[in-house]
C-alpha cells in the first residue's frame, strides 16, 4: 500500500472519529423528524440511524474525491460508507444512550 493511501486513510479515520457524535445527531434528527422509525420495528431503529448518519458522512467526505476526480472513486465511496456504517452501528448499539 502506498504511503499516500495510508495518510489519506488516517485523515479520513480521524475525521470519522472526531465527528461521530454530530453525524449521529444529524442522522437521528432526520429519522425522527421524518418519522421513519415509526414504520419499523424498534429494534431496527439503531441500524436506520447508523445508516442515515453514514449516508450523510459519506456524502460530505466524498466531496474531496469528486473535486479531485480520483480514479476508483466508486470503490472509495463504498469503503467510506461501509466503514462509517460499521463504526456508527457500534456506537449506536453499544455506547449511545442515557442512564
Amino acid at each position: 500500500m502506498k504511503t499516500t493511501n495510508v495518510v489519506v486513510a488516517i485523515l479520513y479515520g480521524a475525521f470519522l472519529f472526531l465527528s461521530f457524535l454530530y453525524f449521529i445527531l444529524a442522522g437521528s434528527a432526520i429519522v425522527d423528524y421524518l418519522g421513519i422509525d415509526k414504520h419499523l420495528p424498534s429494534s431496527l431503529t439503531p441500524i436506520v440511524v447508523a445508516f442515515i448518519s453514514s449516508i450523510i458522512f459519506t456524502a460530505l467526505s466524498s466531496i474531496p474525491l469528486v473535486l479531485t476526480k480520483r480514479k476508483g472513486m466508486r470503490k472509495a465511496v463504498f469503503i467510506l460508507f461501509l466503514v462509517s456504517f460499521t463504526f456508527y452501528s457500534i456506537i449506536v448499539w453499544f455506547f449511545l444512550g442515557f442512564k
Partner: protein
C-alpha cells in the same frame, strides 16, 4: 515514442496534482471538522485562559455566589447565612487540566447543598449547584471497590471517579462508564474570561482578608427567569431483577429489569406527573420504561425513543389497565435547543420538558436525562455577559435533594423533548 513519454509524464504530473489537491481538500475537511467540534472550547487568549484559579479565589467566589443565589434564585432561600467548605474537592478534565472546584454548602454545620466553581477562566465562574449532597460524598463507596486516581468533570451532572484504563465510576448512580478523551463545553468562552477578569479585578488581593465587598459588586443581576411550580421531584424506588414480567410489575412491585429504571423514563415521568394525578409514580415510570424501549440496564438508547415513548404512554396505560387519563401527551424532540426555546417552553407555555445531555465528543460516554422546570438568566452588568442556568430535577433523589441548577451549554450535545398535554 516521444509523444508517449510526454503523455506519460503529463499523466504522472496530473496524478501528482490530483494527490496534492486531495490532500489539500482532505486536510481542509479535517480542519473544518475539528474546528466545528472544538471552536467553542478553544480559548481565544491562551495566555490568560490558563492562569490558574486558586482554591482561595474559588472559595471567595463560592461564598459570594452562595449568598447571591440565596437572594436571587427561587428555591434557594434557605442558603442565606450558609457557609462553604474550606477545602474544595478538585475535579479534572480527562486531559489532566483542572476544571472545577466543588464546595459543600453548609448551614449550622449541616450539608444543604453544593456548588461547582470553575477552575478555568474560559468557563463561567459558576458551573452548577444544587441542594443534593456533593457528588464527591459518594467517593468512599467507589473506593470500597476501586482505586480512585482522580475525580473527573465531564459536563453538567457528569462527574466520575477515574479508576484507570479509561474507565470511571459515575459519582451519582455508581455506574461504570468509559470517559471521553476530551470534553468540550458549548459556552461563550470570551464572555467567561470577561467575567473572571471582572472578578479578579475587583477581588481583594489579600487572601487573608475577610472582606469580599469587591467581589460582591461583580455578581450579576437576574435579567429574566421562569419557574414552573408543582412539578414533582422524584426517583424510582421499586426493586429490580424480579421474575415478574411486564406489565404485571407495573406499580410498586419489583421489576423484571435492573433496580435502576433509567433516567429517561424517570425524567419524563416527572413531566407527565405534573399533569396527571394517576397512575402512581412507579406505574408511570414502569410504563415509560416499556414505551421508551429502555433496556434492562436502564439505558434509553436513542433520542427518538423518548418522544415516541411519551406519545404512546396514554394508549399503553389504557391497554394494560383499561382506564383512561384525561390527557393525550405529544412529545417532540428539538435537536438544536436554544436559550430562547427554553424561555418559550418554561415562561410562555409553562411546560416542563425532558433534556438529554451528552458530554465529550472525542470518546464514548453515556449521557443523562433530566426534567427542566425553570431557568434564570444572569446578566453581568460590567461586561454584558449573559448566562442561563436551568433548574432541573436530576432523577437521582426525591424532593429537594433532587433539585439541581446547571449552566446552559455545560455539555457537548443536548436534545430537548417538549411535551404537550392535549385534553
Amino acid at each position: 515514442m516521444l509523444t508517449f513519454i510526454s503523455v506519460m509524464k503529463n499523466s504522472q504530473e496530473m496524478n501528482h496534482l490530483r494527490w496534492k489537491s486531495l490532500f489539500a481538500v482532505l486536510l481542509g475537511l479535517l480542519m473544518v471538522g475539528v474546528i466545528a467540534g472544538t471552536v467553542t472550547a478553544l480559548p481565544q487568549d491562551t495566555s490568560s485562559t490558563f492562569i490558574e484559579i486558586t482554591p482561595q479565589i474559588a472559595e471567595k467566589v463560592a461564598l459570594t455566589y452562595v449568598k447571591w443565589i440565596s437572594k436571587n434564585i427561587p428555591q434557594y432561600g434557605e442558603w442565606s447565612d450558609a457557609q462553604v467548605s474550606k477545602i474544595p474537592q478538585l475535579y479534572y478534565s480527562p486531559d489532566g487540566s483542572k476544571v472545577a472546584y466543588e464546595f459543600t454548602v453548609l448551614k449550622n454545620d449541616e450539608v444543604v447543598g453544593y456548588i461547582m466553581i470553575s477552575a478555568r477562566k474560559d468557563l463561567p465562574p459558576v458551573l452548577e449547584f444544587g441542594k443534593s449532597k456533593p457528588p464527591s460524598m459518594n467517593i468512599e463507596k467507589v473506593k470500597e471497590r476501586y482505586k480512585v486516581k482522580r475525580l473527573l468533570y465531564l459536563g453538567a451532572l457528569l462527574y466520575g471517579a477515574d479508576i484507570g484504563n479509561g474507565k470511571a465510576v459515575h459519582l451519582r448512580d455508581m455506574r461504570l462508564m468509559s470517559y471521553p478523551l476530551k470534553v468540550t463545553f458549548n459556552v461563550n468562552h470570551k464572555a467567561a474570561e470577561a467575567s473572571w477578569q471582572g472578578i479578579l479585578k475587583k477581588m481583594n488581593n489579600d487572601m487573608f482578608s475577610k472582606s469580599d465587598v469587591g467581589i460582591q459588586s461583580s455578581t450579576p443581576v437576574v435579567s429574566d427567569w421562569g419557574y414552573i411550580w408543582g412539578v414533582p421531584s422524584w426517583t424510582s424506588e421499586d426493586a429490580g431483577n424480579a421474575d415478574i414480567p411486564y406489565p404485571d410489575n407495573v406499580g410498586d412491585l419489583p421489576d423484571p429489569w435492573d433496580d435502576w429504571d433509567g433516567c429517561t423514563p424517570i425524567a419524563a415521568s416527572m413531566v407527565l406527573g405534573y399533569y396527571i394525578s394517576y397512575p402512581d409514580k412507579e406505574s408511570i415510570i414502569d410504563i415509560l420504561h416499556h414505551t421508551m424501549n429502555t433496556n434492562d440496564d436502564g439505558v434509553t438508547v436513542w433520542w427518538g425513543y423518548i418522544d415516541d415513548g411519551i406519545d404512546n404512554f396514554a394508549e399503553e396505560y389504557h391497554r394494560i389497565s383499561g382506564q383512561t387519563i384525561p390527557y393525550d401527551f405529544d412529545g417532540s424532540n428539538d435537536y438544536y435547543v436554544s436559550m430562547d426555546d427554553v424561555k418559550r417552553q418554561i415562561k410562555t407555555y409553562g411546560r416542563p420538558f425532558v433534556l438529554s445531555i451528552n458530554g465529550g465528543p472525542y470518546g464514548l460516554t453515556t449521557g443523562h436525562s433530566v426534567a427542566v422546570v425553570g431557568f434564570t438568566e444572569w446578566k453581568n452588568l460590567d461586561d454584558g455577559a449573559t448566562w442561563m442556568y436551568l433548574t432541573i430535577h436530576n432523577t437521582w433523589y426525591n424532593g429537594d435533594e433532587g433539585v439541581d441548577t446547571i449552566l446552559f451549554g455545560d455539555w457537548t450535545v443536548a436534545v430537548a423533548t417538549y411535551v404537550t398535554a392535549n385534553s
